[in-house]
């Protein structure tokens, strides 16, 4: 039986975007940008999808901002503290209001930014959400006791993935590859710093003053609402928020001149893992470097690439093989990762990855493969654009990088212009043995 109910049709009036074959814009929606006097930026994307509204607050501070010794993991810790309420809306009252709205709320912390979102139904609830969010950012209140208790939760969060060797090898890679930059540690931070978090009440106030300020924050709203009304609420509730003026200076990472290597023995049985990192460029849509490398990652390591087919499908040496060239505000790592099936195959897989990179330096990729990769990236992005929250969550990442939604279409325009020679040039520039860090992990004998 085929079912068409009124509610179904209302919920399913999803976003309509043009064919990508006919349009050059992968991000097709109109948006407005407004900046308050205190520096708070609002990016507003009214959409025709009924009911749902996504309200994101992007604080441009992440583990990148943890430049002081002993403060690793602090951006993430502070994200937890942001749910403690204010004197006007203590935690219980704050939670009760959002609970009654049935809102989906949470936060997450990354290397470069911390994001808080409220996804809810009904434009009539918009003012209350703006009021609550503004209040928590301007008037957050917590005691030292509350901070100490929350610090234990971070330790619990560390334990959540303590059984995962993938996390361990990633921690070792960053710690080994970076000498000075704060990307040396992961978002959750070093365990010894986590253990010291209960003693960081004063620093938490300083951290807040520096980074939780309108001139370091962007509000991104997408969905079914009236833009003028939204602006009215934003001005009403956020205008009293004071600027910080603080400018973070992240340490410059010295040029790596010698290949690095590390090995870790996981206490219990596990599949062996390999990760290889090269220092790469920061995200920048005006130069070809990062965009060309993003294409290279797909060309050489996607599921359809010759190397993946050889190592995973044909020879069956690897369970997984992928490249991850994450976009970051500062120069970051280009990584190649594999879970291998047998310890003795680790050298073989490592050699195959380096050989493939050498091949890419010598031979330009075919136009056909390049076209396939461009198509894949375009449609992958389009697939994430189907809902209000899909639009907001995809855009939040790019807004963190440049504070401007236009960067998405600029990036994809740049992809279109790249040639096989551009890819080859970037392979030669970045994939030098002296710029590499290899980390391996094998299982131990403990029960």
């Amino acid at each position: 039986m085929t079912k068409f109910t009124a509610a179904t049709l209302i919920l399913l009036l999803l976003l309509s975007v043009p064919s990508l074959l006919k349009s050059s814009k992968v991000f097709p929606y109109d948006y407005q940008i407004e900046v308050l006097e205190n520096g708070l930026k609002l990016i507003s994307i009214p959409l025709n999808n009924p009911h749902i509204i996504s309200y994101y607050t992007i604080v441009r501070s992440g583990s990148r901002n943890e430049v002081e010794l002993g403060k690793s993991g602090f951006a993430h810790f502070f994200e937890h503290m942001m749910f403690k309420g204010t004197q006007k809306f203590p935690r219980e009252a704050y939670e009760d209001i959002l609970t009654k709205l049935g809102a989906g709320t949470n936060g997450y912390t990354t290397d470069d930014y911390t994001c808080y979102y409220v996804v809810f139904a009904g434009g009539e609830n918009l003012e209350k959400v703006v009021e609550l969010q503004a209040d928590i950012f301007i008037n957050l209140y917590y005691t030292e006791e509350m901070l100490k208790t929350e610090a234990s939760v971070i330790e619990g969060e560390y334990y959540r993935s303590v059984s995962n060797p993938g996390r361990k090898i990633y921690e070792i890679l960053r710690d080994t590859a970076f000498e000075k930059h704060s990307y040396k540690h992961t978002v959750i931070g070093y365990f010894e710093d986590i253990k010291d978090m209960p003693n960081q009440f004063e620093y938490s106030q300083l951290y807040r003053k520096r980074f939780y300020a309108p001139d370091n924050t962007i509000i991104l709203v997408a969905g079914d609402y009236d833009h003028e009304k939204l602006m009215e609420y934003i001005k009403k509730y956020y205008s009293g928020w004071e600027k910080s003026g603080y400018k973070i200076v992240t340490p410059e990472e010295p040029l790596q001149t010698k290949a690095k290597r590390a090995h870790y023995v996981w206490p219990t049985k596990t599949l062996p893992r390999l990760t290889i990192g090269f220092h790469g460029p920061a995200y920048f849509e005006e130069k070809i470097d990062k965009a060309a490398l993003n294409l290279l990652a797909e060309i050489a390591f996607s599921r359809s690439s010759p190397l993946y087919q050889k190592l995973v499908i044909e020879e069956q040496k690897c369970l997984t093989l992928y490249a991850s060239f994450a976009d970051r505000r500062d120069p970051y790592l280009l990584t190649f990762n594999s879970t291998v099936k047998k310890d003795e195959d680790l050298p073989y897989v490592e050699k195959a990855i380096f050989q493939e990179l050498e091949r890419l330096k010598k031979e330009p990729v075919s136009e056909e493969i390049l076209a396939d990769v461009k198509s894949n990236l375009k449609y992958s992005f389009a697939n994430s654009m189907g809902t209000t929250d899909g639009v907001a969550s995809a855009l939040a990442f790019y807004i963190n990088l440049t504070a401007d939604p236009a960067t998405v279409n600029k990036l994809f325009d740049l992809y279109e212009k790249l040639t096989p020679e551009d890819i080859q040039e970037m392979a030669r520039k970045y994939f030098k043995k002296t710029n590499s860090t290899v980390v391996t992990l094998t299982g131990g004998k403990a029960k």
């Binding site: 039986m1 085929t2 109910t5 179904t8 919920l11 399913l12 009036l13 976003l15 309509s16 064919s19 990508l20 074959l21 749902i52 939670e95 009760d96 609970t99 009654k100 049935g102 989906g104 949470n106 996804v119 139904a121 006791e145 100490k148 208790t149 610090a151 234990s152 939760v153 330790e155 619990g156 969060e157 334990y159 303590v162 059984s163 995962n164 060797p165 209960p198 219990t268 049985k269 596990t270 996607s302 599921r303 499908i313 044909e314 069956q316 099936k341 396939d372 990769v373 198509s375 894949n376 990236l377 449609y379 389009a382 697939n383 189907g386 209000t388 929250d389 899909g390 403990a446 029960k447």
Partner: protein, 511 residues
């Protein structure tokens, strides 16, 4: 006028198509459809659902269903190798996903309408003309074995704990093995057995095809014609045995070197989403442990007040998290269970937190839910469920599950049913379905023998805090919790090394 004529012909054509499809659904031996057309939408979502899952694995061949369907989703077809399929799907940014549960399995895909024709041609070929090549078989089987032997028991204790609970609840039952199977059974499965499973179960009557989005109006008829090449008929519906309820506290511990302890506990329930009482019990479960929400009472007591771990939740049916924190779809089961999930916490506090969780459950059973909480949770669920189905795939999934449990549209039904529930109904459901003295408890921890001794002896289990100024009321409550008696009998506690799980059917032999 001419435009209007075409329009009317279009409506007539659609009407006939839907009529034909509706008729098809009436015949249980043929493919049925679930359609959510959305003209102008740029995406199309596919969900090819089979009423066949791991519960259909034969004894000694546990894992056969997932291995067979993996050969379709992750292997080549007769006309294309998997390498060629990967190469063709790549520019479309498309994949064929697969999830196997106890009673159903679903192949999923989402595609931009620009690429619909190419994608459907590949999807059809993969499902209707599987290649069943020896090299694909070796690769996929090895991957499944590695998952059981290394990944599940070695790299993800949260999931490992939930799977041990499943083994405990369903020993000797068709649900009683992991969907991936057991090491012993997987090693024995041959390619011929995989082919035979496909022949036996990949039949028209087992299949519901879900389509949502901006697909052309003639697509459903085309799909129906293509799938009519499969044999008609259906697998005999599962007749499940009665669920075995725990007698007291039955504990299984996986002993491994780890700084953190993972805990899962629960027991089978006699009701599912299809029953009237489900809605009242759902409110109770949401109050007690809504998944990854501050609303959860357990979360408030264990994490927020005491900072013990990252989260603590409870569920009144089998729960898989989908996009964000919402429940995923197409995991329908005839038999359901109640469970509590305590995320990993430092080993030194394991005994205390186990006591605390069971004490909170006891309080829920004895005291019920207050009027204030009842009103809050009901309002929450009425609004939160509006966010469940945002994507095409989610909406389609919820629509398909609605039918399984006998509803026209479950999410619409929620809006009506919850409004009728009273506080008394919830408290009656709590008394009827929840208890705190008969539970299966799965624990992954280090030095399990020491924990067993402490549990059996009811040794007090005080904890310490980083905060020297913990509120007095919490410290006073801690004094009660640390000595809260648990009736653990030594013969009801089994301990096995983590690597012995999933080797053979059932729980590891500990004697």
């Amino acid at each position: 006028m001419r435009k209007m004529k075409y329009y009317l012909w279009g409506i007539l054509f659609l009407g006939i198509s839907f009529l034909l499809l509706s008729c098809a659904k009436v015949n249980p031996n043929k493919v049925s459809f679930e359609l959510l057309p959305l003209e102008g939408n740029p995406l199309v979502s596919f969900r090819i659902l089979l009423k066949v899952g791991s519960a259909h694995d034969l004894s000694g061949k546990e894992g056969l269903c997932q291995l067979t369907f993996s050969m379709l989703a992750n292997g080549g077809s007769k006309s294309m190798t998997f390498k060629e399929i990967s190469k063709n799907l790549y520019p479309l940014a498309a994949r064929v996903g697969l999830r196997v549960d106890k009673e159903m399995s679903v192949f999923t895909g989402q595609i931009h309408t620009d690429n619909l024709e190419k994608y459907y041609a590949i999807l059809k070929d993969m499902l209707l003309n599987p290649g069943f090549r020896e090299d694909d078989f070796t690769r996929i089987k090895t991957n499944h074995l590695n998952f059981l032997q290394k990944t599940l028991v070695g790299s993800n204790d949260e999931q490992f704990g939930k799977e041990i609970l499943n083994l405990m609840m369903y020993e000797g039952h068709p649900y009683g093995h992991h969907e991936t199977g057991t090491v012993e059974a997987l090693e024995s499965i041959t390619l011929d057995e995989v082919k035979a499973f496909y022949q036996e179960h990949f039949r028209q009557g087992n299949i519901t095809i879900g389509l949502a989005g901006g697909y052309p109006s003639d697509l459903p008829a085309k799909v129906r014609e293509d799938f009519s090449s499969l044999p008609e008929g259906l697998t005999t519906p599962l007749e499940l045995p009665e669920q075995r309820l725990p007698q007291g506290l039955e504990i299984v511990m996986a002993d491994k070197k780890t700084p953190a302890t993972a805990l899962s506990m629960g027991y089978p329930l006699p009701i599912s989403r299809a029953d009237d009482d489900f809605f009242a019990l759902w409110i109770a479960g949401s109050h007690f442990g809504e998944h990854r929400q501050h609303l959860s009472h357990l979360f408030q007591k264990i994490r927020e007040e005491r900072g013990q771990n990252y989260g603590d939740y409870a569920y009144t049916e089998h729960f898989i998290q989908g996009r964000r924190k919402f429940p995923d779809t197409n995991y329908c089961r005839q038999q359901q269970y109640f469970s509590i999930w305590i995320r990993p916490l430092t080993n030194s506090n394991r005994h205390f937190v186990l006591r605390q969780a069971l004490r909170e459950l006891k309080k829920l059973v004895e005291d019920g839910i207050s009027r204030e909480r009842f009103e809050l949770v009901r309002t929450y669920l009425l609004n939160y469920t509006k966010l469940y189905a945002q994507t095409l795939g989610e909406r389609l999934g919820w629509q398909m599950d609605s039918g399984y449990y006998g509803y026209q549209d479950f999410l619409e039904e929620v809006q009506k049913r919850l409004l009728k529930i009273k506080q008394e109904d919830v408290n009656r459901a709590i008394k009827k379905y929840l208890n705190f003295s008969n539970l299966y408890i799965a624990i992954i921890t280090e030095d399990a023998e020491a924990l067993k001794e402490a549990l059996v002896a009811n040794t007090p289990s005080p904890i310490t805090y980083a905060n020297p100024n913990m509120p007095t009321e919490i410290l006073e409550e801690d004094l009660v919790i640390q000595s809260f008696p648990l009736a653990v009998k030594p013969e009801k506690v089994k301990i096995a090394p983590n690597t012995e799980f999933f080797q053979k059917a059932g729980l590891p032999q500990t004697d």
